[in-house]
Symmetry: C2
Subunit: 466 residues, 2 copies
């Protein structure tokens, strides 16, 4: 019975129910048809009974609040119906006593609770969004008698639903922010632990262990596959086997996710032996200047693409001062010279997904009527909207020497006068640097949710040597 | 370039190629048609680009040796062909330089390497086995033009292939054993770290973090979802939020998996405050006696079901001595009285899967012609074969007070004379105990791969207090 009471993390019933009630009432002002959202099921790992940890659909979590497996909710005119089956009695042997469908319904403030099979009677004119696991999108397809596939962009009423959900999830309510702050706080601790573990670590994997250990100890999960690498120039590096060598910088992009799915996303870069080299410090300070200037600019109404171009400008200016780039700042930015060393966007939305609502393509990231630029310096920008209070975005400028870019003969000839390639060689020990924080747009400007983690090179060095 | 050379863990090319050559030559003696095995792809977590860690199909890993994503191999008459696409050049920006298909082919000793699309020309009369991820079984189905679904038992030549692979994977070669020993050694360290972290931990999650931290630090993954719980009576407990309370026993079932997929599976149970109570020690010693006796009995030719019944007998005998069970040992075992407290099987096969080859149902676990018993005390037995040298099995007796069993009125009345229910109440602080080791069947008997982790209550207490 003890187990039963404590089954779901951290929420007392009524505040959660109230948060959820407000969300669906807002939804009801935006659509005049029912929405049915499935939670999804576990995905098998190497055999059916050995599954990956269950992660519900984010859209479901937003309106249902709890990580319920194989459940669905129906939202209609502000009402909430929960559809899920109670586990068979013999299940208690393996999984313990779990709350009944009715108990969960009460906790989340649902108006009624029914077995999954009855959902078929409530699907008339209902919109939905696809979940990721095959068993569930197969069920969605069968129940609704039309193809619901994760790879298909939503259409018709599904598209209307998607737009309505985007408009809600774009800005975070108090319930979301409470979770996002928890994720940020634990992620800050994880990074501090990673820095403190580095001097005695021999492998990247050992630093990763120290960081993820903090997240696991707080009964959270990583929000995405951690990047913990001395090869920060490999942007999505998923390897942890390199030895830490004298002179290496370690780039760690690690974030926690709370039990109800809210994410943090932090990157820091630190010297594995506790001291930046002069060249590393020079470049680090340029990246940090871009980071600080971008955060300074964040405020309601500001275009996020302008923040991106601000980062480009400050990086370019700094690289000119270091003698790596040559020419006029504005002209260099216009020809995307900064993108040789900063080939990604300045950041993205953050919420229940680390790239929030990226399952909907650019529907959330791009203001209606806007599309991705073909320009090399802008094509990877994931967010292109005016900022609004309550939005949470990452700010993550970087400097990378990607071999595939800087050794590309075509690129070298194209930028032969813009880059001082000989000077660049003196910065060979700066392979990859990124500094990333999670920034909330407020009425008056911004608040850095991850501000408890220092960014200055001195403070970083102090943490590594602590 | 450094990255490229070190891309795959731990293997130098030639020993791996030789191991794989021997495996496929054995396969060639068992089937006279080609086999095509897909590796699979990443499964999406909450949106397509945020995936779970990639885990290839175990059958693929057995013959391909490396965790290649979206690849397939064709085995025919001892020849090995590798089908996979080289990543597009722009991929290097995000994922770094990766070995080419041709380089991998050389490493694993493949006879040739071709793009995936060419596989369609090599599928005549080919057998296969389904992988777990939907994108890949969809491709299998399309390429072979017949349904290949993880939930469908193999049939026809696929069944012949499955049986041939079972006969190979049932016993482990030197290459497999080297990996299995590594997984065991790291898992032993993880358990020691968990014990050492318990006295200062407040939550189950903190002990889990200490244990999984060791596994992550060794650049391995957990082979299955860890169980780290003070509610060991919930057999598949996936929660870690309980506080450690005076008098609690912590049951930890945690195992590592090497980079090429080989697993360990260890359970220990320890007192969270460093000392077993007299009642806990009494029951612990009974479970340990069963554990030791079973391992003692393991030898070629011995029926694994006899090992299970030996555990049942020793547990029953011990529980009679404690006054919990009443009556004659043999008669109590015959009416499954032990199953009230030990409702699962004594163990299972272990290899690339923690329940090895369970994707094939009972094809691996059960000798041809044998089926699961309907008897409560035997129905959960996952392995029913005579043991052979080279088999790796778990031995995992336990004692649990599962509320769903011991509070069930029907069961209480059925066993009213066999159980001294009043005496049982004096053992309320023994909710769940399991002791699990990984035991290799050798020519002369057995070898415990996880023997470096103590089992005696005194040694366990010493590790917790260390």
């Amino acid at each position: 019975m003890q187990n039963q009471k404590q089954y779901f993390p951290m929420h007392t019933s009524s505040p959660l129910a109230e948060i959820l009630r407000q969300r669906r009432q807002k939804l009801a002002t935006l659509i005049d048809f029912p929405a049915v959202l499935w939670s999804g099921g576990s995905s098998p790992r190497n055999f059916p009974a050995n599954t990956f940890p269950f992660r519900p659909s984010s859209h479901f979590l937003y309106f249902a609040g709890l990580p319920l497996k194989n459940a669905a909710i129906r939202l209609d005119g502000g009402k909430l119906q929960l559809f899920m089956d109670n586990p068979p009695p013999e299940d208690a042997l393996w999984h313990g006593e779990t709350p009944t469908c009715e108990e969960i319904a009460e906790k989340i403030g649902a108006d009624d609770a029914r077995p999954m099979a009855e959902l078929e009677d409530y699907l008339e004119n209902a919109a939905t969004l696809p979940v990721q696991d095959a068993a569930t999108w197969t069920q969605q397809t069968q129940f609704l008698n039309r193809w619901i596939l994760p790879q298909n962009p939503p259409d018709g009423i599904d598209l209307e639903l998607a737009k309505a959900i985007v408009s809600l999830r774009l800005t975070h309510d108090a319930g979301a922010l409470a979770e996002l702050r928890q994720a940020a706080a634990v992620s800050v601790q994880a990074h501090k632990a990673g820095m403190a573990a580095t001097l005695t670590a021999k492998l990247e994997a050992e630093v990763r262990a120290a960081m993820e250990g903090v997240i696991i100890a707080h009964n959270m999960t990583t929000a995405y596959s951690s990047i913990v690498t001395v090869h920060g120039e490999v942007l999505h590096n998923g390897h942890y086997h390199h030895r830490l060598q004298p002179g290496d910088l370690l780039l760690a992009d690690v974030g926690a996710e709370t039990g109800t799915g809210w994410a943090a996303d932090i990157t820091r870069t630190w010297p594995v032996f506790g001291k930046f080299s002069p060249t590393q410090k020079d470049v680090y300070d340029i990246v940090l200047a871009a980071h600080d200037a971008c955060i300074q600019e964040i405020a309601p109404g500001v275009e996020y693409s302008e923040i991106h171009l601000l980062a480009a400008t400050i990086l370019t200016k700094g690289l000119i001062e270091l003698g790596i780039l040559r020419g006029d700042v504005e002209k260099l930015v216009k020809i995307d010279a900064h993108s040789l060393f900063f080939p990604h966007g300045i950041g993205h939305l953050l919420g229940l997904d680390v790239h929030d609502m990226e399952d909907l393509g650019d529907l959330a990231g791009y203001e209606e009527g806007r599309n991705r630029s073909q320009r090399f310096g802008l094509s990877y920008l994931r967010l292109n909207r005016p900022l609004q209070p309550g939005m949470l975005v990452t700010i993550e400028p970087g400097f990378y020497q990607v071999p595939g870019i800087i050794n590309n003969p075509k690129i070298r000839s194209q930028y032969q006068y813009s880059v001082n390639w000989e000077r660049l060689e003196q910065f060979a020990d700066v392979r990859g640097i990124r500094i990333e924080d999670d920034v909330l747009v407020t009425e008056s400007g911004s608040e850095v949710l991850t501000a408890a983690l220092p960014t200055s090179s001195q403070e970083i060095e102090a943490l590594v040597n602590s």
